[in-house]
C-alpha cells in the first residue's frame, strides 16, 4: 500500500475564501439575539459584503424562558455577490438553548455548522423544548457539524474579573457567541466594541464585561477544534458610493423626512402604536428640528383624522399603521377622497385577519388598499419592494398626494419593515423637489376648481385672506364646490375623482423587466416585498435554461400604463404573493389575461427555492 499523501491540516489562521453564507442566530427572547444579529450585520457591511437580514421574533414581549414560543431569531445572508433575500436555509445555526435548536434545526443545510450553548441543555430546558433525550448525545444531529460549547460557563469565566453578579455576567453570553462568529468569518471587533462603549458608556463594568466576553469568544475560535471553520467573504462588487445598512421602517421614516424637505412643508404624523409600524412613530418623533410633528393619537381613527386636519391646514399629513388599524381608518380615507386633500397612509402589513400574526409578514391587505372603503373611493396605491426602496416610495407617496390632491396608500410589510440591506446613500441634491402651490388668488376661486391636466383641485389653506370656504364629506357641486345632491353631478364627481387617480398613470415610470427578455414563455409578476426572492429565483431558472422573466409592480393603483402590453408579450403569467391571490384577481379582471396564482400565506416570506420550483412546475405543465 502506498503511503498516502499526508493530509494537509489547514492552519488555524488561514481563512478559506467563500462567496457567502447564511447565518441564523436563535435563542430565548432574553438572550440578545437581535443585538447579536445586528452587530454581526454591521461588521459584514463594513467588510463590504452585500447582505440582507431578517429578524423573526415572537409576539410575546417576554415569553417564559426556555419555551419554543419564546424563541427569537435573526438571519443574515452576506456574500461577495449581489444578495436579494436573507437566504433560504442557513449554513450556520447558532442555537442558545434546546427550544431554539428544535424549532430551527430543520431549516439548516445538510452538513451545516451548528453551534449550541450546551450550558443551556439542562433537563428542564430539554423538557420545555419537548426533547425526550438530549439531542447533543442521541445522534439525532449526525449529518451536521455540531459544536456544543458551554458558552454560559465560558462567559462567566471571561467576565469574572469585572465583579458582575452571576445573572448580569451570564447575560454577556451573546457577546461571547458573537466573538466566536467574528472569528469564524474573520471580522473586525472594532465596530462592536465601539457600539458597546456607546451603549453601556455610563456603566464601565458592563462595557468591560461585554468586551471581555466578545474577545474571549474570538480567542476561543482560534484555539479550539472549531478553528477549521474559518472563512473569508470578500467584498461585493457594488456601485461606487457611500453605503450604510438600512431597515425598511427606518428608510420609510427618513423618506418622509426627506419628502417634507423636498416639498418645503412641515410633516405631521398621526399614529397609534401597532406592530410592526410603531418604529416609524418612534423614529419620526426624533425629528422635531426637521419640522416633523408626531402625535400619538388616542386611536387609529384619531391618528388619520388629525393627519387629515394637518393636510387641510397646509402640512403634509401622514398616518402609519398596519392592517387592523387601516380597517379603522377607512371612513376617514373616504373623507380625504371626498375633500380631495393630500394624505399619505402607510400600511405595514402583517398576518391577518383580525389580530392575526402581529409579528409576521403578509401581503393580504391589497384588496383593502384598493377597494376597502364605502362608495366609489379611489386612492392611489403604491408598494415598496425592498427595505431601501421604502425611502424612495415614501417620497413618491408624498409627491403624488400633493400633486393630485389625493390620499395615497403606501404598502410595505413586516418583512420589509424589519429586514435590512446595505443601501447606497443618495445625494440629496439629486432628489427632485416636490412642488407645492397653495391657492392665494381670490379671483374666480372656488374650492373645487381643478387643474386641467391632473384634475387636482386647488389647495387653499386656512389663513389665506379672501379664500374662506367650506368643505366636507357631503357631495359637492362640480361647478361651485357647494353641497349638491344633484344626480348627474354626483356621477360627474365620482367619475372625476376616479379619472384624477387614473391620470397618475401618466406621471409614473413604465413597468420594466427586471430580469430576462421582454417577451417569452413566462413572466413572473410580483409586487412589494417578494422582489428579492422572485428576482433570484428567476435568475436561477434562467441559468437552468428556462425562458422566464421577472417584472415587479411598485404602482398598483393606477398600474403603469404599459402593464397590459407587457402582460400580452408573454405566453403565461405567474403571480407569487403572500396572500390567497389578490393581485392576480385584479390583473385578471383588468386585463383579461389568465394569470396564474402562486399564493403563500404562512407569515413567512417566499424562499427562493420555492419560487424557483414553482417556475419549473409551471413551465413543465
Amino acid at each position: 500500500m502506498a503511503n498516502p499523501e499526508p493530509q494537509s491540516t489547514p492552519l488555524p489562521h488561514a481563512a478559506k475564501e467563500v462567496s457567502g453564507a447564511v447565518v441564523r442566530f436563535v435563542g430565548d427572547s432574553g438572550d440578545g439575539m437581535q443585538v447579536t444579529g445586528s452587530q454581526f450585520t454591521v461588521a459584514a457591511a463594513l467588510a463590504g459584503n452585500d447582505l440582507a437580514t431578517f429578524p423573526d421574533f415572537p409576539a410575546e414581549i417576554r415569553a417564559p424562558a426556555g419555551t419554543t414560543y419564546g424563541v427569537s431569531g435573526f438571519q443574515i445572508n452576506f456574500a461577495s455577490r449581489d444578495v436579494f433575500t436573507p437566504g433560504d436555509s442557513p449554513d450556520v445555526l447558532v442555537a442558545m438553548n434546546p427550544a431554539a435548536l428544535t424549532t430551527n434545526i430543520r431549516d439548516l443545510k445538510r452538513g451545516g455548522l451548528v453551534i449550541v450553548n450546551s450550558g443551556a441543555f439542562t433537563a428542564t430546558n430539554l423538557k420545555k423544548a419537548g426533547y425526550e433525550k438530549n439531542p447533543l448525545e442521541d445522534g439525532s444531529l449526525d449529518g451536521f457539524n455540531v459544536f456544543a460549547i458551554d458558552i454560559s460557563k465560558s462567559t462567566l469565566a471571561a467576565v469574572e474579573h469585572t465583579g458582575l453578579s452571576k445573572k448580569d455576567a451570564e447575560r454577556c453570553k451573546n457577546f461571547w457567541t458573537l466573538g466566536l462568529m467574528f472569528w469564524i468569518y474573520d471580522r473586525d471587533l472594532a465596530s462592536t466594541i465601539k457600539w458597546v462603549e456607546a451603549k453601556f458608556g455610563k456603566r464601565q463594568e458592563l462595557v468591560d464585561a461585554n468586551v471581555a466576553a466578545l474577545k474571549a469568544g474570538h480567542a476561543y475560535g482560534e484555539t479550539a477544534e472549531i478553528s477549521h471553520f474559518h472563512y473569508k467573504v470578500p467584498p461585493a462588487a457594488v456601485a461606487p458610493g457611500t453605503y450604510r445598512n438600512i431597515g425598511g421602517n427606518t428608510a420609510l421614516a427618513w423618506g418622509f423626512v426627506a419628502a417634507a424637505q423636498l416639498a418645503e412643508r412641515p410633516l405631521v404624523l398621526g399614529a397609534y402604536p401597532i406592530t410592526p409600524a410603531s418604529d416609524v412613530l418612534h423614529e419620526l418623533s426624533r425629528f422635531k428640528h426637521f419640522g416633523v410633528t408626531t402625535i400619538q393619537a388616542e386611536d387609529e381613527i384619531a391618528a388619520i383624522c388629525l393627519a387629515l386636519g394637518a393636510s387641510y391646514a397646509g402640512s403634509i399629513g401622514l398616518t402609519t399603521s398596519s392592517g387592523p388599524g387601516i380597517a379603522l381608518k377607512g371612513e376617514a380615507i373616504g373623507l380625504a377622497v371626498s375633500t380631495e386633500l393630500p394624505l399619505v397612509i402607510v400600511n405595514i402589513q402583517r398576518g391577518g385577519p383580525s389580530t392575526g400574526l402581529p409579528t409576521k409578514t403578509e401581503q393580504a391587505d391589497l384588496f383593502q388598499a384598493v377597494y376597502g372603503r364605502n362608495g366609489e373611493a379611489p386612492v392611489c396605491v403604491l408598494a415598496a419592494s425592498t427595505p431601501g426602496d421604502c425611502f424612495y416610495m415614501a417620497i413618491e407617496a408624498v409627491r403624488l398626494a400633493v400633486k393630485y390632491m389625493t390620499p395615497v396608500m403606501l404598502l410595505t410589510d413586516g418583512y420589509l419593515a424589519n429586514g435590512a440591506e446595505p443601501w447606497r446613500i443618495p445625494d440629496i441634491a439629486d432628489l427632485p423637489k416636490i412642488d407645492v402651490t397653495f391657492r392665494t388668488d381670490p379671483e374666480g376661486f372656488h374650492p373645487y376648481l381643478r387643474d386641467e391636466t391632473t384634475l387636482a383641485r386647488n389647495w387653499a389653506i386656512p389663513g389665506t385672506p379672501e379664500l374662506m370656504h367650506r368643505i366636507g364629506g357631503i357631495e359637492k357641486s362640480f361647478k361651485s364646490g357647494h353641497i349638491s345632491y344633484d344626480p348627474e353631478n354626483h356621477e360627474l364627481m365620482c367619475q372625476t375623482r376616479a379619472e384624477k387617480v387614473a391620470r397618475i398613470a401618466d406621471d409614473i415610470p413604465e413597468l420594466q423587466i427586471e430580469v430576462g427578455e421582454d417577451s417569452g414563455k413566462l413572466l413572473v409578476l410580483g409586487w412589494g416585498s417578494t422582489y428579492g426572492a422572485i428576482r433570484e429565483a428567476v435568475q436561477r431558472a434562467r441559468e437552468r435554461g428556462l425562458s422566464v422573466s421577472h417584472a415587479h409592480l411598485k404602482y398598483i393603483n393606477p398600474f403603469p400604463k404599459n402593464l397590459g402590453e407587457v402582460l400580452a408579450r408573454f405566453e403565461r403569467v405567474l403571480i407569487p404573493e403572500m396572500n390567497l391571490g389578490q393581485l392576480v384577481k385584479i390583473i385578471r379582471s383588468q386585463y383579461l389575461v389568465p394569470a396564474e396564482s402562486y399564493p403563500k400565506i404562512q407569515g413567512q416570506p417566499f424562499k427562493i427555492d420555492e419560487v424557483e420550483e414553482r417556475i419549473r412546475l409551471v413551465m413543465e405543465s
Binding site: 453605503y243 423626512v257 405631521v268 388616542e298 388629525l306 397646509g314 446613500i425 367650506r470 368643505i471
Partner: protein, 341 residues
C-alpha cells in the same frame, strides 16, 4: 385667543355665508348661530384665521353658515381633525361644533382626549338630548326611560351629563348656557373664546321637532330665575327672583343644599362663593339634581394650564435650538457608513 390682530371693523353680516340655513324652523340652532355671528366681530380675529370644524348631526351643519374656513368632517371625529389643524398651524383660531350624539356617543373618545390634552379649541356642544338628523332616536344625554322611535318601551340607558364629563376629563374650561338666553349665551361665547386651551361650552338647545320642550322646565322665561343659577366667579351662589335663594354646603355630608335666605335663620354669610378654579365645586354644580336644585349655568370651571399645541411648538423650538435646523445629509450619513469606490 391667539393672534389678535386689528382687523377692519367687521359686522355680524360679514360672518354669514352665502348658504341657506337648513335647520327646521324654530330650531334652537338658529339662535346659537345668530349669537356666534354677533360675537365674532368683537373678537377681532380676521375671518381667514377662523376655522369652524364639525362632525355629523344637525349641529354639525354649522360651519356651512359661517363665512370663515369650515370643515364638516365625519361622525364624532371633529376633535381629532381640529387637533391636526392646530398642530399644523397654532395661529388659527379653531371652533369645534358638536352635539350630544356626535360628541359624546360616537366621538366620546376623541372629545375626552382633546379635553385632557388641552388643545386650544373653542368647543360648542349643542345638547338637545336627541338624535335629530337621523330623525329621533335617544341620545347619550336622553333621560332614562325616554320613549323614542328606537326605544318604544323607554330607553334603558342612563344619561351622561356633558359638563360633568368635561370636568372629569380634566378640561381646563367648562361652561354651560341656553340657546334662547342671548345675553348669557353671548357672554359665555366671549369667555369661551378668551380662554386659552380646550374651552368647553355646553349649550342646552331645543330640538322642536324630535324633543320639543326638553328644557322648558327651566328654559322658559318664567322659570329661569327660580330654576337656574348663574354662577359667577367670586360671587355668592344665589338664585331666584331677587336672589333670595342660595347654595350652601353641608360640611358633614359634603353636599350642596339649596336654601332660602332668612328661612331657618339662613344668612348670606353661609352661602357658598363660586370659585371657578375649584374642580370639586364645579363637579357638584354641574350635576345638581333638577328640580330639587336649580340648573347651574355660567363658567363652572376655568384654570390656566399649558395648551397642547403650545407645548408642541415649545418642544419644536427647543429641539431647533438644541440641534439646529435638521440636516438631511447628516441624518442619512449618521452611524456606520462605508465607502465603495
Amino acid at each position: 385667543m391667539s393672534n389678535v390682530v386689528p382687523a377692519p371693523k367687521l359686522t355680524r353680516k360679514d360672518f354669514e355665508s352665502d348658504q341657506d340655513v337648513r335647520w327646521c324652523p324654530g330650531c334652537g340652532d338658529y339662535s346659537i348661530l345668530a349669537n356666534v355671528q354677533r360675537v365674532m366681530p368683537e373678537l377681532g380675529v380676521p375671518r381667514e384665521k377662523l376655522v369652524f370644524v364639525s362632525g355629523i348631526g344637525c349641529s354639525s351643519r354649522f360651519p356651512y353658515y359661517m363665512n370663515t374656513y369650515g370643515f364638516h368632517t365625519i361622525h364624532g371625529r371633529a376633535p381629532a381633525v381640529a387637533m391636526g389643524i392646530k398642530a399644523a398651524n397654532p395661529d388659527l383660531t379653531v371652533w369645534l361644533v358638536t352635539g350630544d350624539g356626535d360628541g359624546l356617543s360616537i366621538g366620546g373618545n376623541h372629545l375626552m382626549h382633546c379635553l385632557r390634552r388641552n388643545v386650544d379649541l373653542n368647543i360648542l356642544l349643542f345638547n338637545n338630548r336627541i338624535y335629530g338628523l337621523t330623525k329621533g332616536q335617544y341620545s347619550p344625554t336622553s333621560e332614562f326611560g325616554k320613549i323614542t322611535k328606537s326605544s318604544p318601551t323607554g330607553s334603558v340607558d342612563f344619561p351622561v351629563d356633558p359638563s360633568t364629563f368635561a370636568i372629569g376629563c380634566s378640561a381646563s374650561f367648562v361652561a354651560r348656557s341656553i340657546d334662547v338666553d342671548a345675553t348669557h349665551l353671548t357672554e359665555m361665547l366671549r369667555r369661551t373664546a378668551a380662554h386659552k386651551g380646550a374651552s368647553f361650552l355646553e349649550i342646552y338647545q331645543n330640538c322642536n321637532v324630535f324633543n320639543d320642550g326638553a328644557f322648558d322646565a327651566f328654559r322658559e322665561k318664567v322659570h329661569r330665575d327660580d330654576r337656574t343659577i348663574r354662577v359667577q366667579h367670586g360671587k355668592p351662589l344665589l338664585f331666584g327672583k331677587d336672589n333670595t335663594r342660595g347654595l350652601r354646603i353641608d360640611s358633614r355630608t359634603l353636599s350642596l343644599e339649596a336654601v332660602t335666605l332668612g328661612e331657618n335663620g339662613v344668612t348670606e354669610q353661609e352661602i357658598l362663593l363660586h370659585d371657578e378654579t375649584n374642580p370639586t365645586l364645579a363637579y357638584m354644580l354641574a350635576r345638581m339634581p333638577f328640580p330639587d336644585f336649580p340648573v347651574a349655568l355660567g363658567v363652572l370651571y376655568a384654570v390656566d394650564k399649558p395648551t397642547y399645541d403650545g407645548t408642541l411648538t415649545a418642544q419644536r423650538d427647543a429641539s431647533l435650538k438644541k440641534n439646529g435646523q435638521g440636516d438631511l445629509h447628516a441624518l442619512l450619513h449618521s452611524g456606520n457608513t462605508w465607502q465603495v469606490s
